[in-house]
């Protein structure tokens, strides 16, 4: 666990509408604040229809965060909740940064009824290999389904990320409790713990 007080922690979260990208970024920003960072969060999305590409920027800094947006190539951590989205936003990861990619595929209409191709795992890996050797696929959707709700795949990925950040587990669990509706708290906390276990072995 690194806790360098001079550096910034810049996170890019990428997913599609309905995957809980914004919830995950809320948790991340609140955790940063809870452990004493300044934090900002920016949501970047277009029209609010289902299935659109959504990305959020979260920044932590011990002194002060200025820009809510991260510059291309400067994200220390990139968390993608879907594989094509991982490819779409790959440029945001700084050289040597950490990428956590949820092993989930959601086919866009341009693939299902259009002529466009969905990237293969090999293609995604090859692109990330140019950026970093700290790139990890997380079986988020599989774990989430085991827990009985595919929607918590985002929190599995967040759990995997949590091992590398200067915030204790109890803070994460408390923030999750505050951020999700009461009846889903336990489910989300379980998803978080499972994700944490996954990355403990990296």
């Amino acid at each position: 666990m690194s806790s360098d007080t001079t550096r910034t922690y810049d996170f890019l979260l990428a997913g599609i509408g309905g995957q809980g990208t914004i919830l995950a970024s809320n948790v991340l920003a609140e955790v940063g604040l809870a452990v004493g960072f300044d934090a900002k969060k920016a949501e970047v999305h277009g029209l609010s229809q289902l299935g659109g590409s959504v990305n959020t920027h979260v920044r932590w800094n011990y002194e002060r965060v200025y820009s809510p947006l991260i510059a291309l190539g400067e994200a220390d951590y990139l968390v993608a909740f879907e594989k094509a989205e991982a490819l779409r936003y790959a440029e945001f990861l700084r050289l040597g940064g950490k990428a956590i990619i949820n092993d989930q595929v959601v086919l866009p209409l341009t693939v299902t009824s259009g002529g466009e191709a969905y990237p293969t795992d090999e293609q995604v890996k090859a692109v990330y290999a140019k950026l970093s050797d700290d790139v990890h696929f997380v079986p988020g959707i599989q774990i989430a389904k085991e827990l009985g709700n595919a929607k918590v795949a985002n929190v599995v990925a967040l759990g995997a990320l949590s091992n590398f950040l200067p915030a204790p587990k109890k803070v994460w669990l408390a923030v999750i409790e505050a951020c999700v509706p009461q009846k889903f708290v336990e489910l989300n906390q379980q998803a978080f713990q499972r994700g944490r276990k996954v990355s403990a072995e990296w």
């Binding site: 599609i16 300044d38 900002k40 820009s67 190539g73 009824s113 259009g114 466009e116 191709a117």
Partner: protein, 607 residues
């Protein structure tokens, strides 16, 4: 107490703390959450008006009555409200009046980019701009104070990046601002803008701007930040004038340079700018969209650069600011420039599409089949222009489609003209346009896509839903009688899931003489009541021939199966059970009867 808040949440909080008594607006991304949040505060009164002009008139009335008031809209909504903005500038107010206008640099969800600061100058009212959520909250009270001190409406301009970014905000208590009047003012010399009165107001308005210029000189949100290195008398190499979110980018990209951050962007403080300029070798402006501050500084006779360095088009971000500065030598060319052109395979686009079960889909499937030309409007249905439906051919602004269709018909285009408009958009700006069709009679077919909500911005209420913003019951305006009252005789209401009925009626309308209106009425499939009726349809693989007709309706729930049809060697269709809601449009278009209808699925489950 501190809380993480988006700019929009912060503005709502600021309005509540500043004791705003009446707030009104119309939904529009990126401004919508302001009024939604404000409406949730104890004893707050907020309403969705049918359009932004009405909203502004409502809050002007409240401000004339001596109560603090706030109007909320996106930039194009401010265009709609602009007529009212100008008279309100002329009359001034009795109590504070703030207009929140949210611009959308980068057009994340808007038909244009426009710089609303120009409305400050155009209408001769002050414009203030926050740089983060804290200021977004605090500046509501600041705006209301300025409004009361200078007897003027105040424009508080935000942008998508301020409104949709979250940062820590120090919360305050609610202040109590007593009404300034007990009875409505009887003062036509001020509040009646006939020339005999308003001519006298002209010079008052101009003098007001002069007074505001003086006020701006010491306005605490106009900040000069000298960096520790250049506190001496020595002139700094570079000085930056900036505002809004661009201030944050300037701080990040130019940590060593002195900054003049203007919290009031109209009018600018002449002496402060002159003094700052005199202490730097080179003066630049970093601002999003128009060269607004740049022009104002030029008018003071001060040499300044801005848009010759930084782009005028699109949203700024730290990278664009840094690269632009590097290109003109303001920053050294960086050796560790991040990877910018990553060689990667094409990523399939996720264009916004009509959702599975969208009640608009069936209508556009028929319009596409009949090869009709369709004038569109603002709402979810604007997405029908995309392949495979490709059934929408224009989109202008709120309410434009009906007038366009009428004009093309009057021009003798020689093919039937169709206009489509949503229910909320119809209430907003479609009524006068349809009245015109009835009055001047053209063979236009108007389809009102009535999905019982302002859907695109997140299912807000409107005059047809039977509920107010604060979920009070109200009379639901009935569209068919309204349309008849406007003078349209041929009106039919249809369930758009009944695709054959839609086609039959449209074919009748195409043969008829004079205007026709089809009301395609079914609630948005994402609304709670519609969700209760979701059913997943199925494809019978033995009947599917891989003809791809069902793909032509552009439904995200219809996928290509791995199985190929033996004869055609084309993939069969399969329905994604996680996405399908059972609208049956695919079942209607399937020539092979391979897709189940709802009763077949439900029947099968009953067995």
């Amino acid at each position: 107490m501190k809380q993480l808040m988006s700019g929009n949440e912060a503005i709502a909080r600021g309005a509540w703390e500043a004791d705003v008594v009446v707030a009104a607006g119309y939904p529009g991304t990126p401004s919508t959450e302001i009024l939604e949040n404000f409406a949730g505060y104890p004893k707050a009164y907020a309403e969705w008006a049918p359009n932004e002009k009405v909203a502004l008139d409502v809050v002007v009335g409240a401000a004339y009555a001596g109560r603090r008031a706030m109007a909320v809209m996106k930039h194009v909504g401010l265009n709609v409200a602009s007529d009212s903005l100008f008279y309100a500038s002329t009359t001034g107010v009795e109590a504070g009046l703030v207009i929140i206008g949210v611009d959308d640099p980068g057009q994340h969800s808007s038909q244009n980019e426009q710089d609303s600061r120009r409305y400050g100058k155009f209408a001769r009212i002050p414009c203030i701009e926050p740089s983060d959520s804290q200021e977004a909250k605090d500046m509501v009270a600041v705006a209301l104070n300025i409004s009361e001190q200078f007897d003027t409406p105040v424009l508080l301009r935000s942008t998508t990046r301020i409104s949709h970014s979250s940062a820590l905000v120090n919360l305050g208590e609610q202040m109590h601002v007593p009404p300034t009047l007990n009875r409505f003012p009887r003062n036509p010399a001020k509040y009646h803008v006939a020339p005999l009165y308003s001519r006298k107001r002209r010079s008052i308005v101009e003098e007001r701007i002069n007074l505001l210029c003086e006020f701006a000189e010491t306005f605490p949100y106009n900040l000069v930040e000298w960096r520790s290195e250049n506190t001496s008398d020595e002139r700094a190499q570079l000085g930056i004038v900036t505002c809004g979110v661009a201030y944050q980018y300037a701080k990040e990209v130019f940590p060593e340079s002195p900054i003049l951050r203007l919290g009031m962007t109209y009018p600018i403080p002449p002496a402060l700018v002159r003094e700052f300029a005199s202490k730097v070798e080179r003066l630049i402006v970093i601002e999003e969209l128009d060269p607004f501050l740049e022009e104002e500084i030029h008018l003071l006779g001060i040499p300044v650069e801005g848009k010759s360095i930084f782009p005028k088009v699109g949203e700024l971000n730290p990278r664009i600011v840094r690269r632009s500065a590097m290109q003109v030598g303001l920053l050294p060319a960086s050796a560790n420039e991040p990877v910018c052109a990553l060689d990667k395979p094409p990523v399939p686009a996720r264009r916004p599409t009509l959702c599975p079960g969208c009640p608009h889909r069936g209508v556009f499937q028929v319009l596409s089949k009949l090869d009709l030309v369709v004038a569109g409007d603002i709402g979810c249905y604007c997405l029908a222009s995309e392949p495979p439906l490709s059934a929408l051919h224009t989109q202008g602004c709120m309410g434009a489609g009906i007038g366009q269709a009428h004009g093309a018909a009057k021009a003798g285009i020689g093919e039937p003209m169709v206009a489509v408009i949503g229910d909320s958009t119809f209430f907003h700006a479609g009524i006068p346009a349809l009245l015109n069709v009835a009055y001047n009679q053209s063979n236009v077919i108007v389809i009102i896509l009535d999905n019982r909500a302002t859907a695109m911005t997140g299912h807000q209420q409107h005059p047809g839903t039977g509920f107010t913003l604060q979920m009070q019951e109200s009379p639901a305006i009935e569209l068919e009688s309204l349309v008849r009252a406007l003078g349209i005789e041929r009106v039919t209401t249809v369930d758009p899931y009944q695709v054959w009925d839609v086609e039959k009626i449209l074919r009748e309308f195409m043969r008829a003489d004079g205007p026709s209106v089809l009301i395609a009425q079914r609630e948005c499939a994402r609304l709670p009541r519609a969700r209760e009726q979701w059913v997943v349809l199925e494809v019978a693989p033995e009947k599917c021939r891989g003809c791809a007709r069902c793909f032509s309706i552009g439904c995200p729930a219809i996928l290509k199966s791995d199985e190929l049809d033996k004869e055609t060697q084309r993939p069969k269709a399969v329905i994604d059970s996680l996405q399908c809601v059972g609208c049956e449009v695919c079942a209607w278009v399937c020539p092979w009867g391979a897709i189940s209808f709802r009763d077949q699925v439900e029947g099968a489950h009953d067995e």
